[in-house]
């Protein structure tokens, strides 16, 4: 990927060197199955337990509260479906938001079909929920509140700590999909009142296909996968040893350097925001202040997002869009509609997500190319012609 400016780190990240180095032995000589008793098995088992220790330390949990999974989606499915099963005697009401990732949204919709009731809290222009609204949505039969830590499309960081407090005052369990947040902003499950938390390796320079679910001690969550009783009987299946080791190495590295990375990345993000919102008829999406350090998300009027992504690609820049054409449906993303953008403006969304491996030169190149790309598409847009006619 040399010569390419990668600005889609919310989609996935490049595997870090330290993660690769940590994984290599387990992809080669140390191939043992952690469930076996002989030496190679013990080596693998030790590596998995050491990884569990590191992941726990990174999010303020105890090692026995960490369960490895195949990724964020599995963690979300498991947390939500199993809580629903566990608490069904108490009730069948769940509270969530209108801006959750599909891994949460579609899981909740599957529960709706099975007789569960879900309240999706709306969000304001910045993507924030109202805590008052959350409080008044809680009912005696509410069993779970699931709210993401930070949004994947607009970068808004949600008030997770306060949400957890409200949940616990009401005796309701609290799950947070923290896939975009872990490794990028400080997370402490104990301080943040979180009972269940999903994370994914490849969002913080770990490998793909591996994630974890934090389950607060004492919570007797039903098994997410039946079989050989790995992960203390809760998540069967032979452990993805190289993946688990890589995830832990990447997370340890991310957390060690989190302050420096946040500073470096947010400076570059702010340069992108400052530069690109200078383009006429453009605006930032998401919370202007309380946002992920690496997420710069926008809408540009009168042009369509996928076209922007394709032209950026032609210029060697990888980015993404929440337009209908990018989502494979006729509607723009549910997140952009939830923050109140009209359809025609939501179609012109662009998301640039950077991390500490990006450079100021990357930012300068993006800022240099973007105005030309936007002008090129506007020049061929009948909507732009109409907009200019209105002005005149």
């Amino acid at each position: 990927m040399s010569g390419i400016i990668y600005a889609d780190n919310a989609a996935t990240t490049r595997l870090s060197r330290c993660a690769l180095d940590a994984m290599m032995p387990f992809l080669t000589d140390d191939f043992g199955n952690p469930s076996t008793v002989y030496a190679p098995g013990r080596t693998a088992k030790k590596a998995v337990e050491s990884a569990r220790f590191k992941v726990a330390a990174a999010i303020g949990a105890k090692p026995e509260e960490i369960y490895f999974t195949a990724g964020g989606t599995e963690s979300d499915n498991w947390a939500i479906k199993s809580t629903a099963a566990l608490k069904k005697e108490k009730g069948k009401h769940i509270i969530s938001t209108a801006i959750e990732h599909h891994a949460v949204l579609h899981t909740l919709q599957s529960l709706q079909k099975r007789g569960y009731e879900v309240t999706f809290l709306g969000v304001d222009r910045a993507g924030n929920i109202s805590l008052e609204e959350l409080r008044s949505a809680i009912r005696p039969d509410t069993i779970l509140i699931t709210v993401m830590t930070a949004n994947n499309e607009i970068g808004t960081i949600l008030p997770v700590k306060e949400i957890g407090e409200i949940a616990h005052e009401a005796g309701v369990l609290f799950h947070s999909d923290a896939v975009q947040a872990v490794g990028h902003i400080p997370i402490n499950v104990a301080q943040m009142n979180i009972d269940l938390l999903s994370l994914s390796g490849h969002k913080f320079k770990g490998p793909k296909g591996v994630g974890a679910l934090y389950v607060k001690k004492g919570l007797r969550l039903p098994s997410g996968m039946h079989g050989g009783a790995q992960e203390r009987g809760l998540r069967s299946g032979t452990e993805n040893v190289p993946g688990i080791v890589g995830l832990a190495a990447a997370l340890e590295d991310a957390v060690t350097h989190i302050d420096a990375n946040m500073t470096k990345v947010s400076v570059m993000r702010d340069a992108l925001i400052k530069g690109l919102t200078k383009i006429p008829h453009s605006r930032l999406t998401g919370d202007p202040v309380n946002r992920l350090p690496g997420t710069a998300s926008f809408v540009f009027e009168c042009i369509e997002g996928e076209s922007m992504v394709l032209l950026l690609d032609q210029n060697g820049i990888c980015a993404s869009s929440g337009s209908a054409c990018s989502s494979g449906s006729l509607d723009p993303s549910h997140v952009l509609l939830a923050i109140g953008l009209p359809h025609e403006i939501a179609h012109g969304s662009l998301r640039l997500t950077i991390n500490e491996d990006n450079t100021q030169e990357d930012i300068d190149t993006i800022l240099e190319k973007m105005p030309r790309i936007i002008q090129r598409l506007r020049d061929m847009s009948p909507l732009w012609e109409e907009k200019n006619a209105e002005v005149k």
Binding site: C302, I303, E304, G305, E306, S307, L310, Q314, S323, A324, C325, S326, G328, S329, L330, P332, H343, E344, H347, D379, M380, S381, P382, L383, W384, E385
Partner: protein, 134 residues
């Protein structure tokens, strides 16, 4: 995934921009759905002597506009009216299933521009099509 041809027509769109001396203009689609095509035609002696487009939309919308205008340029109006969305998609070496509606829009855009041309002559497109069938 787009074909090489789609990418070529997206990256180097043919016939893009306003046609100053167009005698037929059609606009189809809407901004809510995320695709708008405006097609310009200049018709002389029953021939589409020139054509162009302006499009708001995704890669496929721009590529189908480009290809559709290429396919009718220099053709008779009757031939242009017979242009099908399938022909546009095939000429582009296919479109992803979710993008086929872009080719439909291109076909409709061409028809709409020609309809506008006839309307300016005081002729309904329906009568032209009927006469064509007979």
């Amino acid at each position: 995934m787009y074909s090489e041809k789609v990418m070529d027509h997206f990256n180097n769109p043919r016939n893009v921009g306003e046609l100053k001396d167009a005698n037929g203009i059609g606009q189809v689609g809407n901004s809510v759905c995320g695709d708008i095509m405006k097609i310009f035609v200049k018709i002389e002696d029953g021939i589409v002597v020139d054509t162009s487009f302006k499009t708001f939309g995704c890669g496929a919308a721009i590529a189908t506009s480009s290809m559709a205008t290429e396919l009718i340029k220099g053709k008779t109006v009757k031939e242009a009216l017979r242009l099908s969305n399938k022909a546009v998609a095939e000429a582009l070496d296919g479109l992803p299933p979710a993008k086929m509606h872009c080719s439909v829009l291109a076909e409709e855009g061409i028809k709409s521009a020609i309809e506008d041309y006839y309307k300016k002559q005081g002729i309904e497109l329906e009568t032209v099509l009927k006469a064509d069938e007979e």
